[in-house]
Each structure stands twice: as C-alpha cells, then as structure tokens.
Symmetry: C2
C-alpha cells in the first residue's frame, strides 16, 4: 500500500455514493462499487468499505454543509437491495499494515463524528434508514446518525459481529455509542455484541438499538415523512444557496506538499515536517455578502481546507515523519481581522460553517499521532485561531528579543475571544482550559489580555508558551529538541501524547479516541486477530480463527 | 513463571518492607532485598520492585487499616541511602510474559489506588518523603501518596524516564496522575516525561511535581513535623486498638481453591471457574463490641478477604480460565442482617473499614479481565452486598418458578440501601446507576423495592437480571452461553468488556485502567518495546533499542 492516498475528491469522481437533493431533505445512497477499492487484492462486496469509500463520504458531509446549506435532514440509505452496509472490508483489513488499520479507523471515526455533530453545529440531522443487513461498521454508520429507522422484515437486522466473527472490536465508535449514546443496558450490550446475526425488529427498538421499527410496506413512506417532519421542525435558518468548494491548488513532490497558504516541507533524514501557514494578503471581507462572494477563496476557509488536507496527507502517506513543526508568517492583525469578521457574524450560516470547520480541523490536530511543536518566530501571525495551534501542540518555542540580522516584526501572540471556547477540544474544554487544568485562574488572567500583541516575556508570564529563547539559545535548543524527539520510540510517543493531551474530563468523543481506540489498537497487534491463524486472516476460508486462550 | 503466586503474607514474612508505628504516625520503609525476587533471573537492585514487593506493600496498606486504626499519617520513605525507588524492575519486565506484565500492572495500580484512597476512606494520609533517585514506578508510588516532600540535594530528583529509556509508558498511573491529580501543564508534562534524569528541587515544586522542597539538613525533621501536623489536624476519630488479620483457611489443589466461605471450582476443559459464596451460619453481631470481638472471623470481613484472595489467585495463576461464574448459597435474610449491622454502625471505625474493603473488592471484580457471569439459583442469597455482584458481572441468569426435584428456597434478589451508592464503581457511579445509565428512573423504581425478596418475574421487570429461565430452558441456555463464551478470542473479550462495563463518565481511576492501561498494553505488544532489539530487551546492555520509526 504505497501509492499516495488523496483525500480530495468531488461528486464527479465518486464511485460509491450518490446524493439526491430535494429542498431541505437530501438522500445519501451508499452504493459501493466492489471493483473500485482503493487498493488491489479485495472486492468491496455487500456495501463494505475501505478508506476510499470513506474519503468520498467525508466529502459528501463537507459539501452538504458548504454547498447545500438548504438541507436540514439527510437520509442515509443503501443503494443496494438486500444490504445496508456490511462494514469495513475484512480482506482489506486482513491485508493492511497495522499503521494503515489504525489510521483508517481514525479517519472513519472523524467522519462519523462530523455527520453526528452536523445537527448540533449546522442544523443538519442525519437519519439512518436501515433496510437489509446492517453489520459492524455498517451499524456504526447508523449509530453516528441521530435517528435510526429499521424496516421490519426477515433479512433486516442490526449487528456488531466483530467480536464473535473477527476477534476484534467494533472500533469505529460502536461499543462506546452503544453504551454512551444509545444507552443500552450493559448486559444487553454484551449479548448484542456477541451475536453474529444481530437483532431484529421490536427487540432492536426495546433495547434502544434503533429509534423506530417500521413495517416493510410502509418503510419508504415513513422515512420520507420523518425526514420532512425533522426538516420542518428544524431550528436551522433557511438558506437558498451555498458556495462551491472548488479544487485546492496543490502540488505534491518529494520535498513536501505545497498549497497557496500552506507549505509542508519534509525533512526525511530528520524525520520531521515543517508546516508553514501564511497570513492573509487581503483585508477581511467587509460583509457577509462579500464572504459569500469570495467563497472557497476566502482566507479563513481556504486556510482550513489546505491545512486539513495537509494533515490527512501527512498522516496516511508520510508515516515515518514523526514530528510536525508548525510555523506561521504574516500579519497577525490581518489574521485577527479575518477571524473577527466571522465571529461578529456567527449567526450567518457561512460564518458559522467556517468556524465549525476550524473546530474540526483543530480536533484533527489534537488526535494526530505525531509529536507536534510550534515555533513562534519573528514575523509570525499567531492570532486567534492560529494561536489556538500553540495550545494544541505538545510544545511551543517563542523568540525573545531581536535576533541578529532578522528584521521581521518581533514575535507576538494575540489571543482573541475565540481562544476561550469557540474551538473546544473533544473533551469539551477549550485548549486553554485543558492547558491550565490545574489553575483555572490562569485562563481568566490570559483572557484579560485578549487583543494585545503579547511579546515573549508576557507570553511566558501568562504561561502561553513552553519556552522563550533568545538569539543565543534558539537554534541549539530547538535542534536538540528535534533530534531527541526523532530518537524516541514512535509507539511510546503515541501513547504518551494520547494521555497528556487530554487531561481531565472525558466525553463520548474522547472515549472513542482514547479507551476504545487504544483497546482496538492493542487487539490489532494480537495474534488472535492478526496472526496467521487469527480471525482476520481466516475470515472467509470457512475455518474459524485459532486462539491462544490465555486471558491477559 | 509457572509457580503459584501467593497473595497472602504477613509482617513476619516480609522481605522488602518495614513499618515503624509511633502512635498516630507510621513510617513505611521500602528496603527491597535484591535477592528475594519472586522469580529467578533478576536482582531487585536500587529498590526496584516486582510483584512480590507489591504483594507485601498491599499487605502493609491493608493491615494499616485493620490492625492499626490508630494511624492517621503514614510516611513512605526509603530504607536505602541514595535511592527512594527505581521503579518496576526492568529485567523482570523484559523477561515476563505479556499477560504477567499486564496483570502485574493491574495489581500495582490497585494497590496505589488503595493507599491513595486511604485518606478519604479511612482518614489515613500517605506522605512520600523522597530522598534519593525516585524514578518511574518509584515516582508513581510517590504520586499515589497525597503529599510529596522532596529533599533538595544533588542526587535527589523525581523522574518518569520510561519513554526515553524504555520505550514504554509510565503506566502505573504516572501519566494520568501527572495531568489529572498533580495538574501539571501538559507541555511541562511532555518535557518531564522526556527527561531521563528527571527534575530536581525548586523546579519540581514550581511545576507541581511535588508539594514541598526541603533542604537536606532539615529534611528528616520537617517530614516528622509535617506528619505530626497532618495527624493532629486529621478528622479521623481516635481508635486504640485494631483487630488481627489472621491467616485465611485456604487449600489450593488442582480442582480449585477452597476457603471456609468461598469455593472456587475450576473446569479446565470448559475454561471456566465457578465461584460459590456461602451465606452466614450465624446471626449478625449484636453490637460493635461483638464485631470487634469476632475480628477476622466476622462474616462480612471474612467473606471479603476470601473473595479478594480468590480473585487475585485466579487472575494471576489461572489465565486460561476465561469465564468466572458467581454463585451464592445461603440465607439472604442473614446476609442482609450482617450487612445492615455494618451500615447502621458505619460511623464506627471497623464497620467503615469492612464496608470500604467491600468497595475495593467489588472494584477488583469490575476491572478483572475475565468474562463474568452470575447464576441466581434457588437457595441463593443475593442480598445487598452480594446482590451487587449481579450488577458487576457481564450477564446474570435467574431461576424462575420451581425446578423439578429442587426443594431449595425459591430464587430471590434482595436490594439494600447499599446498592444505591455505598459501593461506587471507579467511575463514581453505583453499579445500578451504570446499569441504568440511559434510564435513571429505573434506579428510582428499583430503590422503591429495597428490602423485598424479589422473585424472578419482579427482578426481570425491574431490569435487575439479564435473563430469567425456567426449568425447561435453564441448563441448555447456560451451557450454550458458557460454550460460546469459551470459544471467543480472549483479547476481544477483554477489549469489549473494558468498554461495556464502564458506560458514561470517567474519573482519574477509570482513566488509569482504561486510557492509560490500554495504551500501555498496546505498547507492551510492540517490537519497539518488547522485540529482540526493543528497549526493554536492550536495557542495561549499553546499547539503545532499535526502533521501527513508523508512526501508527
């Protein structure tokens, strides 16, 4: 699996999804082309999916929010007759490297979270209309929808057969959503997750696995009715027309990835990448009309899209690059102005969508299993949303005082109101609240300096950076940090960062990325699942996996 | 490592610990005998520990609470000059099977939790008096104490060097306590966990890694002073004399483990164990004086001790036994009366200690990585504390109506007030609150039936059992369940149960057993740590581990 995985697509290139738009209701059909897998060696039978299918789905979700803001209800259903979705393709999983499996699950989890959150964030409620077998990752798709309708016929059931069938977990949120979202009683959940054939009809409703069971003959009508009802009771404002998410201007070469506003420079020997974000050239839009007219060329949206793509590209295609170093260059006042325009008009749909998108991009940073650092150099523009990056990374270094031969504007950090709750982490705290988990008074203290261009001394006093360094120490300290980081075991780094980044409270979201994912990753390393006689390898051979029966 | 590990010990058999009692202050000296490791093949140098050291520590903690209730402050310090504690022994870890590593860490975690909670539960506050190197598991010992004093000399530091040195995590709560208990800022935690040599003196205090730094010359005096201060301001009532924790009456043979009140019957072919708890023969003590006079022979304490030992024995010595089935037989009214006596006198120190101990034993059940079931048969005595077992297991089955030829009293379940908060899980919810996470009204409904002997129909209506079965179905249903369970991959079971058992909120405790432990277990399976050229194998050879640098 060494070809470059591209996360950019658009409806003209879809192999697996079709969307019908009908005013406030959209219908998303999953109709996987079994011959259009992302890699060789497997067929995507029975609406099973691989990363390529999920990349298209993520695009559907994203375009729904920007290109089709008129939509208030989205019905997800199958384009095939007898199956809703059979889940992640097992042969693909059986053949994939551990690192691909883990990153594949992370991306699918992020996509599930995105359409799950679309109701709260954007007023787009997703309904799963389940007809036919809905198993494993298929039911996890339904679980991430906020309403599940099940037809009542002999072939339709919901199931999480991973444990009995494959010796792995329903790891794309399945176990966690069953207990935390659907609130299924734990002994019933235990039974449900042990039954290969799943649960049908009334019992599925009684156990809260679905919201509504409908006779087969009335299913299509009832789904349509429910979709209209949800749409008409939606608090979402009416919007006539969206904006087009035009293709990114991107070049990938051996040195890195190059966009208009984001530059990723890869240092293979040093196993690190430098990700430089540019500030805006132009002034902020003067009105929401202007924001709409700019569309995908508007600074805040364009930067988010480029950074999002860069993160995904680097995660899946550059796994040996263990350290990402963020830099910014530009005018911090202009960054602040562009963000302020959105904050001031956040009741306007597009402003809201761009801010919500930044929330998602920043969450992607949080759960990225790379060591993350940020350099606050002279000439940088860490204001508001970009300052948020400083609180997402593991360590930040800031230039103090003038550097010889460097006549860029002195390094500063400018907080905006957005740093105090606009972009919450998965744990529902702001990054500053997480950072100052032990000293909430430091959040208040920092907040009092909102809007000020804080130089190194002040930023250090407020605890906003890890370390401030002058001209004498800068190069050496940073070189030593980078070399040290590159020498550590990547696995230990991943485990350490997954713990240190999420202090304090947990939410369903962090539990999925923390507890559930960590156990799944463990199982993905165990011979009972992935060994030669393990269940994933044996799947489809008619022979069950052979297990070492020792309990650990 | 196939010898039987015995969790029973007493001070006469200690190799590694010494305790001085001085009225309300006790001093616990860690002075590990390097030649007295539990297994062959390593020396416990520099106060490093293995499971044997921890078994003794657990005994110290337990006896402190029952035999020395006069103690209000416990000072933990080293019996050696230059080292506080070097953490878990690396050669032991390098040589241990994955299953031993995982179970070793679980037991040490439980012991840390026990002395950490001694302040809140029993008014015994543990202080760590750190002199000399305090690294890895050594600092994790200190972190579980509720006050850390550090001497200010050139050789004394606190450190978590696992990541840089060993490519594993500080997995005995280290990472979680640094962020959640000590509330160290996450970028500082990142630095601290990357520095092999650790952090000394003032910076350790400034970063909240310790509570107090004291000049070396004044250290002993200041520690003594602080211990007296904490003791005199303790809210704990004065108690003159404890009770003796006399040796358990236990026989281990090939068929199982046999105690006076607990019978563990092992079915190796079926990979299951049946654990039968007997109800009391005698009436409840009529007074707290009688409770004290009974001492370790009192029903509630004796049963807790036997069950606790059985759990630990089965966890570490019988890893192929993947299913534990709990049974009870006896008079439920007598069980209820014994528990009620403690509940009614819970302001009396011994009543409190026994109830607190049951809380710990039940928490051990929760985090046991075995499939757990309970059978509510005729003649059983699931009342109060024993009914709590029904809500700890993964599934419960209850006999309904009379069974042919069975003239035992009809199966019932009797709730007591204790089922509504007296024995919280690690997530700080009662087991019934966790069970009914989606329907809190069901907790209220069940509570209205407190004290009633509920037969199968009522228990089923209240949602207290997974399934009720009559004479016709009982044998088959249970046999099928057991056979099915025995056929599944143990790893998948462990991961599934770790997710389903802990719905909803997380606490520091559940985050240690969930997030931290799961990531550590993953790393314990990765070649970078445990492979031939991994860090654990290479440790002490002077050659660093060789790592696959791919990020997962």
């Amino acid at each position: 699996m060494s070809k470059v995985i591209d996360f950019q697509t658009d409806p003209s290139g879809y192999h697996h999804w079709k969307v019908d738009y009908d005013g406030p209701v959209a219908t998303v059909y999953m109709d996987v082309d079994e011959d259009a897998g992302l890699f060789e060696g497997y067929k995507l039978k029975l609406n099973s999916y691989d990363l390529g299918v999920d990349i298209e789905l993520a695009d559907v979700v994203q375009r729904m929010r920007f290109e089709h803001p008129e939509v208030k209800t989205v019905v997800m259903q199958s384009g095939k007759d007898l199956v809703f979705c059979a889940g992640a393709n097992i042969r693909m999983l059986g053949g994939a490297a551990h690192s691909h499996k883990v990153n594949f699950c992370k991306f699918t989890n992020e996509t599930r979270n995105t359409f799950e959150a679309a109701e709260a964030d954007s007023g787009q409620k997703w309904i799963a209309a389940v007809k036919g077998a809905c198993a494993g990752g298929g039911y996890e798709l339904a679980l991430a929808c906020n309403y599940i309708m099940l037809t009542d016929d002999s072939t339709t059931s919901v199931a999480l057969p991973e444990v009995p069938l494959l010796a792995v977990l329903p790891g794309t949120g399945g176990l966690t959503r069953v207990t935390d979202k659907r609130k299924v009683r734990r002994d019933r959940a235990d039974i449900f997750c042990s039954i290969e054939e799943g649960i049908k009809g009334k019992r599925a409703k009684d156990w809260r696995l679905v919201d509504e069971v409908v006779p087969n003959s009335k299913f299509a009508d009832t789904v349509a009715e429910r979709a209209r009802e949800f749409a008409s009771s939606s608090p979402k404002a009416d919007v006539e027309k969206g904006i087009a998410l035009t293709p990114l201007n991107r070049t990938i070469d051996d040195k890195g990835v190059h966009y208009d506003l984001v530059e990723v420079e890869i240092d293979r020997a040093g196993r690190k990448a430098t990700i430089t974000l540019s500030g805006p050239e132009t002034d902020a839009p003067a009105s929401t009309d202007e924001l709409v007219a700019l569309g995908a060329e508007g600074y805040m949206l364009k930067l988010a899209r480029e950074l999002d793509d860069a993160i995904l590209h680097m995660r899946l295609n550059e796994m040996d690059i263990g350290l990402w170093v963020f830099r910014t260059q530009g005018d911090p006042e202009k960054v602040a102005a562009h963000e302020a325009m959105l904050l001031d008009s956040d009741d306007f749909w597009l402003s809201n969508e761009i801010l919500q998108y930044w929330k998602r991009v920043l969450k992607r940073v949080d759960v990225t299993s790379r060591s993350l650092a940020a350099l606050v150099e002279h000439g940088s523009c860490y204001a508001g949303v970009l300052a948020e990056l400083l609180f997402a990374v593991d360590r930040s270094y800031m230039m103090e005082d003038e550097f010889e031969g460097d006549n860029r504007p002195i390094a500063t950090i400018t907080l905006s109101q957005s740093n105090f709750g606009r972009y919450p982490m998965g744990n529902d705290l702001s990054r500053l609240e997480t950072r100052f988990y032990g000293e909430p008074e430091s959040v208040t203290k920092a907040q009092a300096h909102t809007g000020e261009a804080l130089e190194a001394g002040e930023a250090d006093d407020l605890g906003l950076v890890t370390m401030v360094l002058d001209d004498i120490d800068w190069d050496d300290e940073i070189r030593i940090f980078m070399e040290e980081r590159a020498s550590f075991s990547p696995d230990a780094m991943t485990g350490m960062e997954a713990n240190l980044r999420f202090a304090g409270p947990e939410t369903m979201e962090t539990r999925i990325f923390g507890r559930l994912t960590a156990w799944q990753n463990w199982i993905f390393n165990r011979p009972n699942a992935v060994g030669e006689t393990g269940a994933l390898q044996r799947y489809g051979t008619g022979v069950r996996g052979e297990y070492n029966m020792e309990r650990v």
